[in-house]
Point group: C2
Chain length 306, copies 2
């Protein structure tokens, strides 16, 4: 029995370093309204969607750095997005840099929230896999300072029953790790929402730059197929403050097939009526849990030996 | 510094049910010699390469069934393959149905051996992930009785230092599971050898029949990329006793790119000079172990909850 939910991936073009949050929220609102006009029930925005990706710059001063994070969600500046979503009865997933004060200490995460069709937050995810480095590498054309600017996520890999199915979130680099999809898959996920900012060039290993789009899509497709889930991915794309980022926002079926894909490097909506029931064939077919051998996977959860 | 090893995948066309093992060994010898003539140092043969894939038929009688297994390796009938390999100084990986007597009891596995350039066995692997069913399903056009004819492998996921690198083996359905590659990847594998017999049609979930080659290649490519390893896969292909099996034997680089692929459904050799040093870029780049979060992967090794 079909269980359709219409999901959009809202790709964004670059955000200027000096672009104000209200201006960015205006862009998000335009994409939200387009999604609604095209029948969307849920729209995915990119990772850290409210500002330029500041992890690409070294920022010495703590106060200056903290200005790139959100200390509340919603906040006065993001509230219009929540209000409009409630008015249009459309949910969304929004990535943002999170500054939390927990047990009296500042903590910083690369986070996303899942927001229901009534405009209230259903759940939060904090990025688990942080790429890049913590040190300043001035010899590089740009930095990749996620290890400096964020702590690794501490909320595990949650799923939520929402939008008529079971939904999970990953963020950017998470999507390359089969463990991340598997953690969601073992909890029966049917739609994985993934925002990302992915530079084409990696100063530390440029050999694979030419394959950036391929590796991105390969990871989505394998994660979808091997767990029998829809995978929806939204890029911040194009040349942002001198850093070229890939596009290739995509909607991938549980078969692993790319069903929709962006065709620009700018603000662009792709949308598909995803039948969540298609997950069942894969989950109950080749990847039935009875065929797993978890007692032989011990190394996967062993501590890193470095 | 390049570390090349020339590896061949020896795809086989169908084997007739009444084809004798010596005849099949003759076909393997021809492929072995071709590999040697083309500079091969290691040649991969398919899963259960010595006979037709008898898991596709219900066989009631135990003695009749046992005749499809090998009770020793090498045996008089397979010894010529070992002898010729030693003479030509070329290693091989051979899949076969193994009948072992252990602790006084018969045990049956879907196994493969890795044989060195001196013709001696380096190691053995027993297939971990058994697809299919144990019951007779006469309404189906053919059976998939691996769960009846084999026990799940009990040797873990070993790797061996051989052929100038680190080598592991998987068999057929194993290749669809990211856990299998990851177990080898965490041990530093640089070349994964995979023989398979893959029907195009699955009576239990025919919706994905049209995607059989795509799913096969997707699994190889993701496993290669996500672990920074060469993946070499050899099919038993073509219509064997009425069962259509896919070809698409392939050599996949650590980048996930398909470097060589068979173009027929018959006996066919594909070969590539694999630089094992290419593994390093991927292993030490995006998939550096420091970026893993094993403490959050607990469900992956938890017991199946069924």
């Amino acid at each position: 029995m079909p269980r359709p939910v219409t999901i959009a991936a809202a790709q964004m073009g670059p955000i200027r370093r000096d672009e104000s949050r209200p201006h960015v929220v205006g862009r998000l609102l335009a994409l939200l309204r387009e999604a609604h006009a095209r029948g969307g029930e849920l729209v995915l925005f990119p990772e850290c969607a409210l500002t330029a990706f500041f992890g690409h710059w070294w920022i010495d001063d703590e106060a200056e750095r903290d200005a790139w994070y959100e200390s509340e969600m919603p906040s006065p500046v993001t509230q219009p997005l929540f209000d409009e979503a409630a008015r249009l009865r459309i949910g969304f997933c929004l990535g943002y840099a999170e500054l939390a004060v927990e047990a009296g200490a500042k903590r910083r995460f690369n986070s996303s929230v899942l927001v229901g069709r009534d405009g209230t937050i259903i759940g939060k995810y904090r990025k688990m896999h942080l790429p890049g480095h913590a040190d300043h590498r001035p010899e590089n054309p740009f930095q990749n300072l996620e290890k400096r600017y964020f702590q690794p996520g501490d909320l595990g890999f949650p799923v939520w029953d929402a939008f008529g199915g079971r939904v999970g979130m990953l963020i950017c680099n998470d999507r390359r790790w089969p463990e991340a999809y598997r953690m969601l898959g073992l909890q029966g996920v049917e739609a994985v929402l993934i925002g990302y900012n992915t530079p084409r060039h990696y100063p530390e290993y440029p050999d694979t730059d030419r394959l950036a789009d391929f590796h991105h899509l390969l990871s989505l497709q394998a994660g979808a197929y091997q767990n029998g889930t829809w995978v929806i991915a939204a890029a911040k794309a194009g040349i942002e403050e001198g850093v070229e980022q890939i596009g290739s926002s995509a909607i991938v079926a549980p078969s692993g097939e790319v069903i929709a894909r962006s065709s620009t490097l700018g603000d662009e909506l792709i949308i598909h009526r995803c039948d969540l029931d298609l997950c069942r064939t894969i989950k109950q077919g080749v990847f039935h849990p009875r065929n797993r051998r978890p007692e032989h996977y011990g190394l996967i959860t062993a501590r890193n030996d470095e």
